[in-house]
């Protein structure tokens, strides 16, 4: 009798646990024969079985093949976007070129002298603004000119010679050197570094 009294609470607790587990399993697990994804009640009425149902192909998104990331070897040189600071420098070079052309087009000696003075004043300022010093790049520029001589090099090989930043500075320095040559000579020499 004492054993039955002692075991009764344990039996009741075990029964309650079994009932709770069964109830929980009914909520969580789908009933037999139904897919897991359809456990949510559908708000749409099911179509009438007598009507033929048009088959709609599932929407399919065809993504274009991913293009390879541009590398130094594949990136086209002409499309390299210039940093904003360099764009300002290029604008300054173009502006100075226009002023020099106007002064030298005057034809007189005073105009030529004024153009020379303008070069003397402006060119070092442009170099400072571009953050480059003339001397360290002179050797680079000479090597670059040699490399692109005789018809030039393939773009991929040319791109591998210098980084984007170095090429941009070399182009800029080349344009500055062209500014330092007067008149048509300077304009003809501009743009050797591409």
């Amino acid at each position: 009798m004492s054993f039955a009294r002692a075991a009764l609470p344990w039996a009741l607790a075990a029964a309650l646990a079994v009932i709770s587990m069964v109830s929980l399993a009914r909520r969580v697990l789908p009933p037999p024969g139904r897919a897991v994804a359809s456990t949510r009640p559908s708000l749409q009425p099911s179509p009438a079985p007598s009507l033929p149902r048009a088959r709609v192909a599932p929407a399919r998104v065809d993504l274009p093949p991913r293009a390879p990331l541009p590398t130094a070897a594949t990136r086209p040189l002409e499309r390299d976007p210039a940093p904003p600071a360099m764009e300002a420098v290029w604008h300054r070079i173009a502006s100075l070129r226009a002023r020099l052309d106007a002064l030298e087009g005057d034809g007189g000696e005073i105009g030529q002298a004024a153009a020379a003075a303008l070069r003397t004043i402006e060119v070092p300022r442009i170099l400072e603004e571009a953050g480059i010093s003339d001397e360290p790049f002179a050797a680079h520029l000479a090597a670059y000119r040699d490399a692109v001589a005789d018809g030039g090099l393939p773009d991929a090989l040319r791109a591998s010679l210098f980084t984007d930043d170095e090429r941009e500075r070399l182009r800029l320095l080349d344009a500055v050197h062209a500014l330092q040559r007067s008149g048509a000579e300077g304009r003809a020499d501009a743009g050797v570094v591409r």
Binding site: E109, A113, A117, P124, S133
Partner: protein
């Protein structure tokens, strides 16, 4: 005593050089027109010197000479958002009128003498 005086003079000279923000000057001759440009603003002496040489000029770390000077032309430009003034000295045989014309072409402000 002499050593102390020498040290004081050297110190003053160094302080003067440190305070000066000029990158020197460049004297050039175009035909009969002789001018000297003083670099204003923050221009390194290396870039000033190389650009002066490219224009077949003579670079000096000091200011332009005042001998035979006809007038001066102050030109102002904007670099990196900062207005910088450079002064160009003009020398005879250029006349005052020619020097003034020179300065007008540079859109500068001319001062005789």
């Amino acid at each position: 005593m002499n050593a102390r005086l020498f040290a004081l003079v050297a110190l003053l000279g160094a302080a003067t050089a440190a305070c000066s923000d000029s990158a020197g000057s460049c004297t050039q001759t175009q035909g009969t027109t002789m001018f000297c440009a003083e670099y204003g603003g923050d221009v390194s002496s290396d870039n000033a010197q190389s650009s002066c040489s490219a224009g077949r000029g003579t670079y000096s770390s000091g200011a332009c000479s005042t001998t035979n000077r006809v007038g001066r032309c102050a030109t102002t430009t904007t670099s990196g958002g900062t207005r910088i003034t450079s002064t160009v000295s003009l020398y005879s045989p250029l006349t005052d009128a020619e020097a003034r014309q020179f300065c007008t072409l540079l859109s500068g402000t001319y001062t005789s003498g």
